[in-house]
Symmetry: D2
Subunit: 361 residues, 4 copies
């Protein structure tokens, strides 16, 4: 059951960017998080939000933001906020997020900068919200109340949800081979030039394969017993190939996995385990968590980005085509909404979990 | 060196369809094959070709065909032709191709109907033109001079070329895992509805994965010593996932392979072997064979369908992103032009090989 | 103020088609219209709806329809329904809709079959709901309570809304020149082959230009004083060019108009008149009518289909780029959601108006 | 008859850009123009061309350029060149082109900077190559042998070809209303972000409508009898609406025109006049001129960018759907390949005309 949570003021950094716009849309209808301040780059500071932003969402700018002025991304401008959501680009996120943490804010970041930091949790809310506990170590080490929580790369996010469901049911997966077909919105705005992607596939996304291979091992790993952070799943072999396709939103991933246990579970058991999977974000009653964490499709040609990406407001992972793999054990196709669960929605659910579990003062 | 070959009359079946149109474009400038008769379904019979066809090529109908009348797909209408190219749909190809073979024609077919027949060679001309030799057994068994040669599914065609190159250099590959991103033209016309594929991926193509997994084992197999046809590579494990993406022409395939030999060759050796690969179709001087069978790309984001599919008139396979696979040995990305090497071009090179080797009377 | 209307049972014909699916989605959350029966072609009859339909909407099949069986399109199967929405294709709509009307149903049709019938109103609900009054003449002539109301072609629908607003403010428009850029969904499913429209424009849509030119004159015409139906606006010159573009939903139209009155109104006046326009469907409190009938955009690059088509659930028309035309008086760009206001939404608002005005027994 | 022209060295400015790449592709196979030097921005200077360029053409970099080094865009680096082709962006073209002219080069420019200059000809080679004669006035005024010739905006280029054909046959056109559907390649690289144009139309291209409306009047105007340059067609009313659509190459334009002469010519006469049109660039034997200046299509759904843009190497204009306009006299649809005739090809034919007519020393 969800507890009642009192309204909380939040700030959004990078509010004019693609991820920032999505944060604002999602937070406009949030039951208890209230956008109190928004930050962007110097050229936007002081402008009313509609003047500062090149709005690219398919819904109009929510009324609440029409008179909000853009602040500098400095902690002083965010007094009164308990939580900071960061949609900053990686090239500026490092220093700014640190400054907010040092100033005592709970920072929930989409940027990649601190994902590999030993005491920073890398949390996919449908998978490892228990990793949030490590923020106590951040606070102790710094002797300050602030902390940083990161969420994962959008492609990693989609992958680890069914992997976690399968590991819970059948024990360790030792091998994962994944090929992604990623949407253009994953590259932000202006992002991918149309001349590069119309009638085309670009079989390369800089740094993406490394992120998928590494982040998966941290997210599916465990809190170490010591104060040194996480025990990574170093024994797991993960091979990722990442491609860009002419799709606006929604990353498709073709996945083959091998279980450590012999014999491997059969297809029916795998299907049942995926469908039955629930996570703490759901049991804690987080309002942005999906009702069904994994939507299993039985139609032979699903999931498809255009038809399935908006299901449950893009907060779940869709899985279909579960079948035997002639090389590993099983294979399937998954779809994750890269701009929702793959980005802002994860940050928000992470914050909701942190609120529900008392990490926010 | 290429021998001089005298002009030969050929017929094209299914001449109004997508593959048939491509045959006609390619043959219009062929050095010695001359289109003498064309066949299509009953509603087209008797019409001048331009009246019968819904032409969808990006070049105009070649002049040679503007006054050619469409015949019925019956052997009697193709007297004077030595070779028959079939671009017929699978639902009619079975009976018609058989009738032409029984009437003594050399039939080169794109249809899937006879690919699994024991005495019918399944020939990717850059890989196994030596399999053509089995047509002698077809002729003996039937006591007739006609025979059928098939070429492979378009996705299989792209895959087996680099696999053959690697096996020649490094011995058997025991494991292949491939994910395809296939163009819409692979489905013919009208084919894929635009509402199904714009801003979308369809992660399923009926029968395609089975074709890739099975055909690969026949093509990379060998002529059996007996008269029973082919020794398939049954010990090879092949896992294929096939998807459709919004690309007009050109199938992209993400491939991981494992070699039997330990240690596996390194990346540099693999790159060199792919680049050095040559095939009989080249040494025989077949005019439609590519100069470079495999084009190796070193740019990190190539090959790409829009930029690379027309290279060498679509008769080669492009390979890039050769790198270590954390699960199998190596992985790479390939591109095959599905309407050229993946279809009509293969049939034509197969016929050229057959001419050069004396299989055509 | 909206009056309170009691729940009413409705039937949907052509329920498995593109328009039929849209009807079902819209009606699933309607405040007083309840889907009681659905009809489709013989091969679907008797099947549960999810078995019968190839669902192509971006939201799942609403729960209410999961156990609903498909009926034959015969009046007997729709007993208990007061209103029939027809999403039938034109090739079958003629006889079936007539049968339902003769059986006493109020039929609201998307099909083109009866749009030109003298006593059948062609109603764009944001423009000429007063034309509904002619159904009394239908009933009198037939001495039956049933009647047929049609809504307009999707492109016509978008055009006439701003034309009506301008005529109300400034008097007759005597000349209209329009070029459309129409979405693929306007052609239904399977509709436009992807090979025809990807990376392409098709500058022709069969019958569309004639429909735009003729329907505009009926919709903007008036009920004749006699019983002979409508006085068309035959003096108005309308020139339409219709093209298909690679857009999923949302027709863009580039419009130039000339007013009879001299001098013509200036841009500011035109902008104000469009923005201020309201219609009876709004004042009657029809629940599916938009709050703002015409959304005027001031950004120089709007409206755009992807960004603006979902505004107000696709029930309004967006207009932008209002400027002087060097040839006629003014020009502007409009956007209409062809699957919403351009199709099912119009039928539903028409039915709501008919309910509010007492045309439904 | 074409005269024999001796090989001539040329230079290309902006050689790494979209237009520059196209110049290089076209010139690689030119019968007498030889690329001798190439210029680009400072960061490319000194690099071998393949290192400097992000090559986006569908054919590989021609061999001739693989070892060519990039020079600074300064006249001193282009000694030995008689002709300079400029594919420079407008923000730098102004000063650089002037410097080359002052240094005595014949500059053929795609940039917009000097199109409105009184003594600079704005030449669409299929329309007004006679305007080249004004370069004598440039030379006299400057007392230098150098001159600048510009070609028109890509959309204007497509429009004026059929207008010129119609005026030659039927006398003055007094009114033109055109709506364009322009390809993304018209915006260069990176150009249009994919997020802005996939599944979308952008009904605005900055400055484009003004260019079409103004340039048409200069191109269809005449050399003034005095030394003051051109007599513009100021009495002609031209109204342009320009939109961007998801098409890679090829601008479609929907055109309505009114003739001064009454009665207006009928459709058959218009068709015949367009088809019969020939221009000086053809009679002079310019090697890059099309054989057929205007390709008239009779199929009701042509021309289409994907199917027709490569016809005659993109050097002609395709026209179809010629029919009566209920508002003006006639209307039709045209297609121009914006990267060929709409850009580099026009510059090259202009240079060919200049060579043939003795303007190049």
């Amino acid at each position: 059951m969800a507890q009642q949570i009192s309204p909380l003021n939040v700030g959004v950094l990078g509010a004019t960017g693609t991820v920032g716009q999505r944060f604002l849309v999602l937070l406009a209808s949030h039951p208890y998080l209230r956008v109190h301040a928004i930050g962007a780059s110097p050229r936007s500071v002081g402008l009313a939000y509609p003047k500062a932003v090149k709005w690219k969402q398919t819904t109009p700018i929510p009324k609440a933001y029409r008179d909000l002025n853009v602040s500098a991304c400095e902690p002083g401008a965010f007094a009164g906020c308990k939580i900071i959501f960061s949609g900053l680009d990686a090239d500026v996120a490092g220093d700014i997020e640190l400054a907010f943490r040092d100033a005592g804010f709970a920072v929930f970041s989409n940027a990649k900068n601190y994902r590999r930091a030993p005491l920073v949790p890398l949390v996919v809310p449908l998978v490892n919200p228990d990793h949030l506990a490590i923020v106590r170590q951040q606070q102790q080490e710094l002797k300050k109340p602030g902390f940083i929580v990161t969420n994962a790369n959008c492609s990693t996010t989609g992958l680890v949800v069914p992997l976690a469901a399968l590991e819970r049911a059948f024990g360790p997966i030792d091998t994962v081979l994944v090929t992604t077909l990623q949407a253009i919105s994953g590259a932000g705005y202006p992002g991918v030039p149309s001349l590069d992607i119309m009638d085309n596939v670009v079989p390369f996304i800089g740094g993406e394969e490394e992120k998928m291979e590494w982040e998966t091992k941290k997210i599916l790993g465990s809190l170490a017993s010591t104060t040194t952070g996480f025990a990574l799943r170093d024994e797991m072999r993960v091979s990722a190939t990442c491609t860009r396709v002419p799709v606006i939103d929604g990353h498709t991933e073709c996945v083959s996995v091998r279980f450590a246990r012999r014999p491997a579970p059969d297809i029916a058991a795998v299907r049942a385990a995926l469908s039955a999977y629930t996570c703490d974000a759901q049991t804690l009653g987080c309002p942005s968590a999906p009702v069904q964490a994994i939507e299993v499709h039985d139609a032979e040609d699903r999931p498809q980005p255009r038809l399935d990406r908006e299901s449950q407001a893009g907060a779940a992972v869709s899985v279909g085509r579960i079948r035997t793999c002639p090389v590993l054990d099983i294979k399937f196709v998954l779809l994750v909404n890269n701009v929702c669960l793959g980005a802002a929605t994860s940050s928000i659910i992470n914050a909701e979990v942190a609120c529900a579990q008392g990490f926010i003062a």
